[in-house]
Symmetry: D2
Subunit: 338 residues, 4 copies
């Protein structure tokens, strides 16, 4: 087992997918330990650090990487197994940001309203207890919420020579902002450029569905992934696999298109895996499928389509690579997978 | 405990919310046992009964009712506790319907494509085993899915002298098509006309998120509800309460507006219940909230916003009526609640 | 020529399409002179009359009617030729209304912003000069804009026993809010109930595309229409015909669906009129068609698809009824058509 | 007057905005004569050349450029005056393309329908008569439509190190696909990178509103522009100025957001030019404004907000540069401006 550790220097952080040389190249099957900064670049540390004052556009939502995977070529699929995602600090922050979020006028849903108040919430992170602690800004209310760490942003270089801000989710991955991207999950991304150029960031200690205010419980993370390669099999949109479920992501506006894209991919993927006719698969997913909401605040919205593998018969995705990566993860320093 | 049984004659079925006299009047607190036909009026019984041939527009999606509740007036809230929802037959059906569903061109998302094939799937319903059995139309694939009965359609007469087809979900309820409307849940509807005029139908043995093909596992139901009244407290959009959670429904297009409406109601409702400032509640729901998808196929799409009550402190909705109705339900012939 | 004059008493005004008995019945071919109140029921007369204070929901956007047309049956088309639309007062008003309009959070596009300021603008109406005069509320700026009178709301009773608030545009017509509904135009509505039950209101001295603030230059109107009937020919969505152009209306959300519906109807209508294959008509409309925006503020948004008749060859819509109604209009007391 | 001529070699064509070095650098005020290929790279020449067969993704929609303008820096505005746009061939083509266009399922509005038939239409271009000639593919129907040449694609390098496919319209310009981008118009683009890096392509002999089938009457063009610079004045979204009108472009999905963005920019721009309070400007644009539809088929949809300058008093945009560029254009070889 090859294990590589990567902690980016501040000036190595990346703010786009695409348009950058790799910071690292690894062979397929490598375990990568990587530190990721939070979406504010670590600059929002107290409730007095207003993001619009301490951060500077476009230096938001930094990702660590890109990491090249040796031998990856367009038409292949990059498999990224998340071994563990561990908050790196004992605090985390969330904030309203001017004209960003679902319940506010925005750049695109343009209104004549002045922005909502910009406020920061600082959470205590208690790894031992497995909780984050919310404190109201006005009044004494506080409550513990379960820790459920995830990466909001993960993906590869886009196709067609595009370079996209890390805040954008699309076919290459990016800022999908879904709680389903947690430890124990394998993410699949279609490779668009030689080396695939994987990067990740934007850790959340937890996040509600849709990230309605625009930010999760934002935290730097110490994360362990296994990067592997599926040669000759393309993946049209980001997909995830957990021990029990298959998932397809769709990113678009309006939100029904994100729903359509994700359901369409899951229906056709399930048809391919099971040998079902497409309309038979459509019917099965219609009754057995779920639709977890990712984000309803980013430049594209993201929804997932999800189905339990047990409803699909003996079908195995990507020739069983998820199980093999689970085994690799189990062997990594005996680490329990969160 | 007053128990009333209502089984509509075929010509008593209703196809609108609003615009009809009540079929029944009951006092607040009455237990009502009601039979509901399936969305096809029971006419689709085999895979050869194509809905577009055996059903006639607008005689689709019949509801049983409306039932007047004595004393209900505009500005009150009708509480409907679902004691049990039991499939009435040992079979159920689902279908693709021409130009209806999420992965097809529709009346509104108008395209020049001919309709997808119209197909019917017939499910076996096994109450004892708690499953429905899916059979592919083409090939031998079959699989059991857990029974999870729900009503797709439930609501009251709309405001402003409107009358709406039962297929429309909106502020009055209607065809919300959410799996969250299951037994054990109390639904809250704002009263718009004297008597409230509650009706329900469109039972599903189960349904995937979004009802992507346009129909669930459609079944006639024997359902038991308790109808009760909360005087002087309005409810702006349908809300649900389970033992563990509070939920707000939003119905609109595009889907992000259904999301916004539901999250907005849950945020402001939670603020009212907890005494939190609205932005503090926005933050809390942003991290603790969920967003179950109802339908993404009806004239309005429906999403729910949901939060666990335990995250809201000692707050109690509607003065604890849900717990009281649970007790009433428990007393009803000793029936176990599903 | 039969001419009927109808001026509703205040308590005769209607606030829905559907759900009401006719106020009048006329034979096909009748000229009807009708007075319509403005969308505020005439209660907003100065800049100090705030709509949210002087008007009461749902008593907004009153229409005059419904008028039954003898012999109209479902499956027929009602032709309404607008002979003249004349502002009834020498002033008109417009306003921002809380949480209504395109550049504000609304009921559906729910945000946490407080409403924008509610302001009223009072316009001078100068029929002789053919202008309305805008005065800024803050400062001395004023400017004359051309008078271009139209009806925001016109339609028939909906199908399927529905009753809809007058503010809603849909397949039955209603609050389409398009400047194309001006004098000289014939509007076509599919008949859904015996007598068709036509009503109209919401006159605007003029309106920008989309009615972005939510209201036009609102005015009571003295309007003359000819009501006629096309037996046995249905009309799926409201259509308009001017001397030079054919138009189809689509009302939906999101706005692209209103676009799709209107373009789809114009493409298939043009194919039917010309004998073109549908894809050939698609291509022709793609290059020759226009897409006037109606409203982007009502419960459904409205767009029109428009094409010059000269691009369609010798095709004649509805057997040339528009030209015949133009002749009728010319004979009506020698009135010049605006 | 400096005049530069640029005709790209085939391998010089660009398929992105951003991510490329300039092909040329010119001083502000330079007249540039430029040849642009059509959106198919000139490969679709007959009705038998199906785009999906003769073109290769992502080598679609080539642009000529980018051209650096000396001294342009972020925060400045690039002014591009279109002196003339002349079809370069006596034929042009349009086509349906699989899963592209407004009346078909697409990549994002994902459906299970097979694509519509892929068909090519070849137009005759008659510069002398000022028309293009449409021929139906099935049957003898043909008709002449007025020539109204425009560029579908024009813009600068995006902000934030992004690189975007030329088919995408956004804040940097790109594939706006609006008929308003015709000769006689000055376009304004905010500068995001040193040199601005202007490029253009995708000429249309004419186009209907929304480009409903996905393509216009596609043609190579010989185009003359004047490139000039407005130092120190940023432009948030593409704007256009004709002799009579000001226009703002918005590109987004859903379409109402493109409407909102464009109207918002025009309202605030008009307020700035006139000194009107923003709500006064909102009211004025609400009554005086237009909303020309650009495209309803590209990755973002585009709408324009437009107002006649005469309604804004003596206000002058960008210190009158449009009039000065008109004068420059008039001096260019005495060419009449189309």
């Amino acid at each position: 087992m090859t294990v590589v550790n990567y902690r980016p220097a501040p000036d190595e952080l990346s703010y786009t997918f695409g348009g950058r040389d790799p910071v690292l190249e690894v062979a397929p099957g490598t375990v990568v330990e990587v530190f990721t900064e939070d979406c504010f670049g670590g600059r929002v540390r107290t409730v007095d650090d207003l993001p619009s004052q301490v951060c500077e556009f476009p230096y938001l939502n930094p990702v660590s990487g890109p990491i090249a995977v040796t031998g990856a070529e367009p038409g292949d699929t990059l498999a990224v197994h998340f071994v563990s995602i561990t908050p790196a600090r004992d605090w985390a922050v969330s904030a309203t940001f001017p004209h960003f979020g679902a319940l506010t006028g925005t750049h695109a849903t343009a209104t004549l309203h002045p922005p909502l108040d910009e406020l920061v919430w600082r959470y205590d992170v208690d790894l031992a207890a497995g909780v984050v602690r919310y404190h109201a800004r006005r009044g004494d209310f506080h409550v513990e919420l379960p820790l459920d760490p995830m990466h909001g942003t993960a993906g590869v270089a886009p196709a067609a020579s595009e370079s996209r801000m890390t805040i954008v989710p699309d076919a290459h991955g990016g800022n999908l902002d879904t709680p389903e991207l947690r430890a124990g999950v394998t993410a699949y991304f279609g490779v668009n450029v030689p080396g695939a150029l994987f990067a990740l960031g934007d850790g959340h200690c937890r996040q509600g569905d849709g990230e309605v205010c625009g930010t999760g419980v934002e935290s730097a993370m110490n994360t362990v992934v296994v990067l592997d390669l599926i040669k000759g099999e393309p993946t049209p949109t980001p997909r995830f696999e957990s021990d029990a479920e298959l998932m397809s992501a769709g990113s678009a506006r309006p939100l029904e298109d994100a729903y359509r894209m994700s359901q369409h991919d899951l229906v056709t993927w399930a048809a391919g895996l099971t040998g079902l006719d497409v309309l038979d698969a459509y019917q099965l997913i219609s009754q057995a499928g779920q639709a977890p909401v990712g984000n309803v605040c980013d430049p594209n919205y993201t929804m997932l389509a999800k189905v339990a593998k047990r409803f699909l018969g003996p079908a195995t995705a990507y020739d069983g690579i998820h199980d093999r990566l689970r085994a690799t993860a189990a062997g990594y320093r005996g680490n329990a997978i969160q």
